[in-house]
């Protein structure tokens, strides 16, 4: 697929929102890949964190359809290791929030079996709720 | 008495790298056989094939020519000329009935004391195996 970058194109709307919500300047990323290498959950992601940043920077379509930011649990491994002091975790949170605002909650707790709900630690449920709902 | 044959080696070393390397072997007390006698020249490029021939005539069983590694020459490229000159002269040794292995060309830097010692030790052993040089009387 060839991506066309148009002259006079505006700064991508999604990028602008992510930067505002996360208070991160994505242009500062060196694309060094440390975040991807340090992420314990990268295996479950459909786009590594560094690539996600690049897609946002270039305004590529489909970023909000990715699973990556739902997979991210905010463990801050990447944040600890990024040499450029970019808080990837905040970028993920911003994407979750934007996605929820645009297409509603990501988690249907009602679908979980009653027994599971009773068994699970409260923090798991609350954290999950918080991360997946608006 | 083949067993106690002590080969005689004449070493011709450039002042800046190989000779300094031999000095380093000394400072580091790296031991090697006492079979070599060293002649210092400023650059390996100074070494005339005549010197090598004369060394064999004067009783050397082997000749070691050592200079700076390629690119290290204090005089830019003298060692490159030495390489060509000595190599082609080496090719003619057979003609005089001298085994080519009796002439050795080695590149030794000022820090390579250990290497210098190893080159001498190895050459001593090789020459011991080859036995004394018997020149055809002209």
């Amino acid at each position: 697929m060839t991506i066309t970058m148009r002259a006079g194109g505006e700064i991508d709307e999604l990028l602008r929102k992510v930067e505002a919500l996360s208070s991160q300047n994505l242009a500062g990323c060196y694309q060094c890949g440390t975040c991807a290498a340090s992420c314990p959950l990268r295996g479950s992601m459909d786009l590594p964190p560094d690539a996600l940043i690049l897609h946002l920077r270039f305004g590529l379509p489909g970023v909000l359809d990715r699973q990556t930011f739902w997979v991210c649990v905010g463990c801050d491994s990447c944040v600890e290791h990024c040499p450029r002091a970019i808080d990837v975790s905040k970028i993920m949170a911003a994407l979750r929030q934007i996605s929820i605002q645009e297409s509603g909650d990501h988690l249907a707790l009602a679908q979980l079996p009653e027994t599971a709900l009773r068994r699970l630690p409260a923090i798991a449920l609350v954290a999950s709720m918080r991360r997946h709902t608006g | 008495m083949e067993a106690t044959f002590e080969p005689k080696i004449l070493g011709m070393l450039c002042s800046w790298c190989a000779y300094a390397g031999a000095d380093t072997a000394g400072v580091s007390r790296t031991q090697y056989p006492p079979n070599i006698r060293i002649v210092r020249v400023m650059c390996s490029g100074r070494i005339d094939p005549l010197f090598i021939a004369r060394a064999f005539e004067s009783g050397a069983d082997g000749v070691l020519v050592a200079g700076c590694h390629s690119g290290d020459c204090h005089y830019i490229s003298g060692n490159e000329y030495a390489k060509d000159r000595i190599t082609s002269f080496g090719g003619m040794l057979d003609f005089f009935g001298i085994d080519q292995r009796r002439l050795k060309l080695a590149w030794v830097s000022a820090s390579e004391g250990t290497r210098f010692a190893a080159v001498v030790a190895e050459m001593t052993e090789e020459l011991r195996a080859l036995g004394p040089l018997k020149l055809k009387v002209q």
Binding site: C32 | D23, T24, I38, S58, T114
Partner: protein, 1008 residues
């Protein structure tokens, strides 16, 4: 307390400090060098080889060290530090603290007996903690001064060393000393250190896992004189590693967990270390993890490509963590950012390219000297663009690693520059006169009467061979009139003894059988010249380094004694053939010609004039300034180039010692160092001027490569180069582009031109900022291969730019270069982005090419006249890529600025001051000394075949057409003797190494 007076004080004796001191001392100024360690040499002497030429570091540093110690105008103070600086330029009062080492440097013979008996073992810092040394120690075998030192922090005071030392060199009563000196100017050359990543960047396991090393430790491991004798082994088990990895930017380029700047040298030294590793063991897998591979300098990119072709694996990705496996191998987790895949891979050994950090003592020194450091602790210059070597206090200058990360050539260039500037405040002082040659006895007609002195060096020689037997044997040799032994031949009383013997016994040759002629020869030569013998009549037999030390049989002294006798026989045989070596000097015309009136040429001219030298500045164009006439503003300070030009031109015109020739070119050059005759041609209708100068500086700058036919350049006016963009920015004719695409490395780093242009990345970064200012709405694309914003300052400038301008950065590969197409009314750039891993099609209404750079178009003609050489891009070739970056191989001709290689203005200015310093040496001396061991031709024998001529690397040989024989310009000859060996008819001889002298030794090697 008495106060000594010197002209200049140099603090720190690494390669920078040594070079600065030598440059000043060679001009006749008296220099005091203060070094905090026991030996001079700094970091360079710890290195194995040096990029990009792979020459041996110690081989090129050691001669400088020896020269430093021996120079009559240099006073060396080791184990010392500067405590306070008062006064002002021209008259600084400097308080110095000299730490006692409890060893008398004048009597210590460097025998090492003390170290053998010392019971204390400590980590050897010279080997980066990889081995042990004693509390009394020699820093490294080639240390200068070659004197043992007691490390008082670890010495337990047992006195064992004192008891064993035969010369009584050790005295625990020796006190540290406070002294005050008076100097006119100062140079700070305190170098840098490397980060030990035990606090920062802990994730890589340094200090926890034994097989994780810093690059400096690895240098010691690969070094032939290092703790493993150059065998590459793992510290944990001594096994040879088969998989070695390097991680780049450890603690560099980090806004968190490190320093924000790029350490500049690590991409290259890692490449070098990987290459050397493969040389040692070709089956090793060497892997380098990097973010941007900064091979920015001359021949660096080619070096990097060579490494890649040799199998060094480069992976773009910064590892996240390192873990140790039970077998002490290491698993590195990384993302290959060119594929997007994450791997966990095993390695046997890991080398960390850790950040260059300021010398730990810098802050204290800054306070003592009243000069400023930056936030990190590097010394800062007064003006980072225009006065890069001037500290914040007048009269104090900076060089090398003290300012930030620098490689050896840049350090040396800066050191020369600092020396040039430091010479200015003292230019009115009386310089040390050239030493008068002592009166000599003419011995040419006399029979050889040699005196042989066999040294015992305490027990160092006498302990392993029978020196009396050697002396007796010497007495029996033909031509020997006197022979005796001495305990320490180099001690003052032994020297006196030699002088007396020469006089009493009418000796006309002296042979000392002792240690190395390289270290001790000059001492004895000086001694005999004091009693009227020419230094050429001296010979040395190296019975210590070549005999007793390497054949140290405790019981059987026979083999070593026999060999020592052989060595003495050879020396005596040679001595018989020795002739006086005439000391010749040539008078010098005390003026300099500078060719090219850009930043480089103007700076060089101003520096020369301020040193008191008459200077001619020739510029081909009708105005001075070079590229400053085109460029808009200058990074890193955003100063308008026009202002800088005005300032420099004013500086030139204000100096009556500078005579400027505009619209003029050099049309003919004759002569050699000291006396060049130059013809200047001012073109049609202009004058023709003849000049007589002693030295010349070439500063002819660079040009952009002609890219017509590529990237749409020449076909479409919307495709321009960076210089053209500069002009539009300056003139305000940019218009309002909506989309600008900058293509870096246009015409560089490809098959046709493998070179990297060094400054293109910085220029593109600057111009991205300028474009953003001129066209706030424009989308800006930067197409690059590697982002080479190296060193302190540039990286930070880049970081600032990407956050502010937010350009789209597209990393492309030279295998798939960007293509420019006109589409409708617009332009389209197609490029494959290696990080996005997608093809991009970018609409552009302006395309800016960061064009490859080349030397000036006239270079091929000029180089013929100057008898110097260039590379394929018309950049001039320096005499030695590491330690003589500003000299040509042709004596008396120097180079600086972008004609050597593209460089920024601060680098150009540093180099130009350096070239001025170099060019001033012969001029301030008033005469050049001819190497005594030159080649000479016997015209009666020479057949005029000319075979020898191309062998001379210095162009010293030529054909004397009238007589049909070769002629040698002795001033140019450096005495290698290569030509002599090339002569088929024996017409050439080398003084001091004639066939007869060499053959005499060969014939005497064994009893006939």
């Amino acid at each position: 307390m008495e106060t000594h007076t010197y002209d200049t004080l140099v603090i720190g004796a690494g390669i920078s400090g040594m070079q600065a001191a030598l440059d000043l001392a060679d001009k006749g100024y008296r220099v005091l060098v203060v070094e905090r360690q026991a030996s001079v040499g700094g970091t360079m002497v710890k290195l194995d080889k040096t990029f990009p030429t792979n020459d041996c570091a110690i081989c090129i540093a050691a001669p400088k060290m020896v020269e430093l110690a021996r120079h009559p105008n240099i006073t060396l103070m080791t184990n010392a530090r500067v405590e306070r600086v008062s006064g002002s330029v021209g008259n600084f009062e400097v308080a110095i603290w000299r730490q006692t080492t409890y060893v008398n440097p004048l009597t210590c013979k460097g025998c090492g007996d003390c170290a053998r008996v010392c019971p204390v073992e400590v980590e050897d810092q010279f080997n980066a903690g990889l081995s042990k040394r004693k509390a009394v120690y020699l820093q490294f075998p080639q240390a200068v001064p070659a004197v043992y030192t007691i490390d008082y922090a670890h010495c337990v005071g047992c006195g064992a060393c004192d008891r064993i030392c035969e010369v009584g060199a050790i005295s625990f009563l020796k006190r540290s000393q406070a002294l005050t000196v008076n100097v006119g100017s100062m140079i700070v050359a305190t170098g840098f250190e490397v980060l030990e990543p035990t606090e920062l960047r802990r994730e890589y396991g340094y200090g926890r896992f034994p097989n994780v090393l810093t690059a400096l430790q690895y240098e010691r491991i690969i070094s032939a004189s290092g703790p493993t004798d150059g065998k590459i082994t793992r510290p944990s088990d001594g096994q040879t590693p088969t998989r070695v990895a390097w991680i780049q930017c450890v603690g560099s380029r980090s806004l968190k967990g490190g320093y924000p700047y790029c350490s500049k040298i690590c991409c290259m030294y890692a490449t070098k270390e990987a290459l050397i590793t493969l040389e040692h063991a070709p089956d090793t897998q060497a892997t380098i993890f990097y973010m941007d591979l900064r091979a920015y300098g001359k021949d660096f990119q080619q070096y990097y490509r060579r490494a890649a072709d040799h199998g060094v694996r480069y992976i773009r990705g910064r590892p996240a963590s390192v873990e140790e496996n039970p077998d002490q191998s290491l698993t590195i987790t990384y993302e290959d950012t060119l594929t997007g895949e994450v791997h966990a891979e095993q390695f046997d050994m890991l080398v960390l390219s850790t950040a260059v950090v300021p010398s730990s003592d810098n802050r204290r020194l800054a306070q003592a000297a009243g000069i400023a450091v930056d936030a990190h602790g590097f010394f800062v210059s007064q003006d980072e663009l225009l006065a890069p070597l001037q500290s914040t206090r007048e009269g104090i200058f900076l060089a090398g690693g003290a300012q930030g990360p620098n490689d050896i050539p840049d350090s040396v260039a800066q050191a020369c520059g600092a020396a040039g500037l430091a010479a200015i405040p003292i230019s009115m002082r009386k310089r040390a006169a050239e030493p008068e040659p002592l009166p000599e006895r003419d011995v040419s007609a006399d029979e050889s009467r040699a005196g042989v002195f066999v040294c015992g060096c305490g027990k160092n020689i006498a302990g392993y061979l029978d020196i009396s037997a050697v002396a007796t044997f010497a007495g029996t040799l033909p031509g020997v009139a006197f022979a005796e032994t001495c305990t320490f031949a180099c001690s003052e009383d032994a020297q006196r003894r030699i002088r007396t013997a020469v006089e009493e016994h009418g000796l006309n040759r002296v042979v000392v059988a002792a240690c190395s002629p390289i270290t001790h020869g000059p001492v004895f030569q000086q001694t005999i010249s004091e009693v009227g013998l020419n230094p050429g009549l001296f010979e040395m037999a190296n019975i210590r380094n070549q005999c007793s030390w390497v054949h140290s049989h405790a019981n059987d002294h026979a083999p070593a004694t026999a060999k020592a006798e052989g060595l003495v026989r050879m020396a005596v045989a040679r001595a018989d053939k020795l002739r006086s070596l005439p000391a010749q000097t040539v008078e010098v015309t005390p003026s300099c010609l500078v060719i090219g009136g850009g930043v480089a040429g103007m700076t060089a001219a101003v520096t020369l004039a301020d040193m008191g030298i008459t200077t001619y500045l020739v510029e081909r164009e009708s105005v001075l300034g070079g590229k400053l006439n085109t460029i808009s503003t200058l990074a890193p300070s955003d100063t308008p180039a026009g202002e800088v030009r005005e300032q420099l031109v004013r500086a030139v015109l204000q100096r009556p010692r500078i005579k400027v020739f505009l619209s003029a070119e050099v049309s003919e050059v004759e002569g050699y160092v000291g006396n060049f005759r130059v013809t200047l041609d001012e073109g049609v209708g202009g004058a023709i001027t003849q000049l007589q100068v002693g030295t010349m500086i070439v500063a002819t700058g660079y040009r952009e490569a002609d890219l017509r036919g590529r990237y749409g350049y020449g076909d479409d006016l919307r495709v321009i180069t960076q210089l053209e963009l500069e002009r539009r920015l300056r003139d305000g004719t940019l218009g309002t582009p909506r989309s600008v695409v900058m293509v870096n490395c246009a015409g560089s780093m490809d098959a046709a031109n493998p070179a990297c242009c060094r400054i293109g990345c910085t220029i593109s970064v600057k111009n991205a900022r300028m474009l953003r200012r001129a066209a706030p709405e424009a989308a800006i694309f930067m197409l690059y291969q590697e982002m080479r914003v190296y060193g302190k300052g540039q990286e930070e400038y880049y970081t600032h730019m990407i956050e502010e301008v937010q350009p789209f950065r597209v990393r492309y590969d030279s295998a798939r270069p960007p293509e420019v197409r006109a589409r409708g009314r617009g332009l389209t750039v197609s490029v494959y982005d290696t990080l996005l891993r997608e093809d991009l099609s970018i609409e552009a209404d302006l395309i800016v090419l960061t064009a490859a750079l080349q030397g000036d178009a006239q270079t091929p003609r000029l180089k013929q006249m100057l008898k110097v050489s260039t590379d394929a891009q018309d950049f001039y070739s320096e005499a030695h890529a590491k330690i003589r970056p500003l000299d040509f191989t042709t004596n008396g001709v120097y180079l600086c600025g972008a004609d050597h290689y593209p460089r920024t203005i601060p680098d150009t200015i540093a180099q130009a001051a350096g070239a001025a310093s170099r060019a001033a040496i012969p001029l301030l001396r008033g005469r050049v000394t001819v190497e005594p061991i030159v080649a000479e031709v016997d015209p009666a024998v020479c057949t005029g075949c000319g075979d020898c001529v191309p062998h001379c690397p210095y162009g010293a040989m030529g054909m004397d057409i009238t007589h049909g024989v070769v002629s040698i310009a002795e001033v140019l000859c450096k005495g290698c003797g290569t030509c002599v060996a090339a002569c088929p008819s024996g017409a050439l001889q080398q003084r001091g190494f004639s066939d007869g002298q060499v053959l005499a030794m060969i014939e005497a090697a064994w009893p006939q």
